[in-house]
Amino acid sequence: MSYPELFAIASAVMAILMIGSGRLRINLLFYAFQTVFASAVTASCGLVSGDHQLYSIGLAILLVKAIGVSAFIAWITKRIGVTSDPGTLIPVPLSMHASIVFLVVAHLLASQLPHLKGQDHSLGGATAAISLLLTGTLFMLARKVAVSQIIGFLTMENGIYLFALTQTRGMPMMVELGILLDVLVVVMIAGLIIFRIKRSFEHIDVTLLTELKEY
């Protein structure tokens, strides 16, 4: 098993551990770990392929997504005064076990994909990427609080990023940095929207937002 593969799987495992807690701070902590591992995948891909641009992208991901975004969302949750998410239909521990099943499904799907020649980390990378995508989707579906929706979205974004990174021979640096900026802006806007929802409804429970129709 190569280093990019190991880090990618570790990132997927962190996402699965993230989904098992109802505490928003713990979710954010595991999101940060997951992103740190994603940036480690980037750096180790750069080490394998000899592409030095990947180091600076890895560093940018570490600073912007792992530290900046996590700290920003932590600040939002503190401002709003929300600490935990009770979850919707699926109990929180069960959603963690369901996402382990998704990891197995992801492995089966990834082994069907064509391999990139000369790149030995595409199987583990694809497994982790699809698993992150499914875990993020489940996280968005199984949670009530709007902050969780942002975290789930960011997890999915990590999955898409890892897929692009491990299944291709790398994208131009400008494209990667542009995506990073997009993510940052999306999180900022989502944060503002959460403040607005909180002010209008005095809660941020997304399952009750359909009440909007009645007014």
Binding site: M1, V13, I16, L17, G20, S21, G22, V92, P93, L94, M96, H97, I100, L103, V104, H107
Partner: protein, 310 residues
């Protein structure tokens, strides 16, 4: 049978449990700015309790008297079977499922004794204990089965034998299984996130309320059994982590022996730290914590399956 090895093992079994329990108490006290009891306080407690008279409930039958002895006997048998230090001499028939059922039977007799006294506190705490053991058993089974898959054997002796170095690829299975076993042993031993071992509020306690009717020699037996259980469960976790180290960099047997005893104390210190910084979980949130132990077990199984291609 190798008499020298057994004598060394027996000496360690006599000394380490007392010191482990003492270490947890001492470090916890120091972290809370207290001087704390001496390191040998568990031993002094047992000696003192042994001399005391006891009060037994009028409703209690021979089950209550017998359970404490049975508990200690079962725990000692497990300690002799389980390779919780690297130098434990091997025994035949040390199957993982025997270990799991012996642990369960010790718990069964504990619950039976608690119910036998007719005290409502012990009754509800035994119901809680039964719930916890029900939840945590799959996690222990999965972690051990993952290790058994790697060794192609269910004998504890051969799973935990230090043979040829398996290579770095084996390390993740050992680490994840070790984490799973550590989390489950916190639940199994009724330690902090699930139950507060120092609480004296009957409504919140689990393990302590089961022992609430015990006094004198009976309580001494229960305390000895608890410290031995603490030691071998921590020892098993330490062995998992040591195997991960061994897979990457093989070390000598003497160093392994020293490390496996030191590791138990290190884990005890870690527990003391954990118990200082965390609070007890609300009872309804305990399953969330135990789910993590189960997840670790599942991860260990997956890693073992992908590695071994079963």
């Amino acid at each position: 049978m190798n008499v020298g090895e057994w004598l060394l093992f027996a000496a360690v079994l006599l000394v380490v449990p007392i010191l482990t329990a003492g270490t947890i108490r001492k470090i916890k006290a120091r972290l809370q700015n207290r001087v704390g009891p001496p390191l040998l306080q568990p031993l002094y407690n047992v000696v003192k309790l042994w001399r005391k008279g006891e009060t037994v409930s009028e409703d209690a039958t021979w089950i209550f008297r017998g359970a404490a002895v049975i508990n200690l006997a079962v725990v000692l048998v497990v300690a002799a079977l389980l390779p919780w230090v690297s130098f434990k001499p091997g025994l035949t028939g040390d199957d993982i499922f025997l270990f799991i059922y012996l642990l369960a039977s010790a718990r069964f007799f504990g619950i039976l004794a608690a119910l036998d006294t007719g005290s409502p506190f012990s009754a509800f705490s035994s119901s809680r204990e039964a719930t916890l053991s029900l939840l945590v058993e799959p996690a222990i089974v999965l972690s051990l089965v993952a290790l058994a898959l790697g060794a192609h054997s269910t004998s504890l002796g051969s799973i935990f034998a230090y043979g040829a170095a398996a290579g770095p690829a084996a390390a993740p299975v050992w680490i994840v299984a070790g984490c799973g076993l550590f989390l489950s042993s916190l639940v199994e031993l009724s330690r902090m996130p699930v139950d507060d071992p120092t609480t004296h509020l009957e409504l919140t306690m689990v393990h302590e309320a089961m022992l609430i009717e015990n006094s004198g020699p009976n309580l001494a037996l229960a305390e000895i059994a608890y410290t031995v259980r603490l030691t071998f469960l921590y020892g098993l976790t330490v062995q998992c982590f040591l195997h991960a180290v061994y897979a990457v960099a093989p070390v000598g047997m003497t160093l392994l022996a020293v490390l496996s005893v030191l590791g138990i104390f290190l884990l005890a210190a870690g527990t003391a730290l954990l118990e200082t910084v965390t609070v007890k979980l609300k009872w309804t949130r305990c399953p969330e914590f135990i789910a993590y132990a189960l997840t670790m077990g599942l991860f260990a199984c997956m890693a073992a399956i992908f590695r071994g291609g079963v």
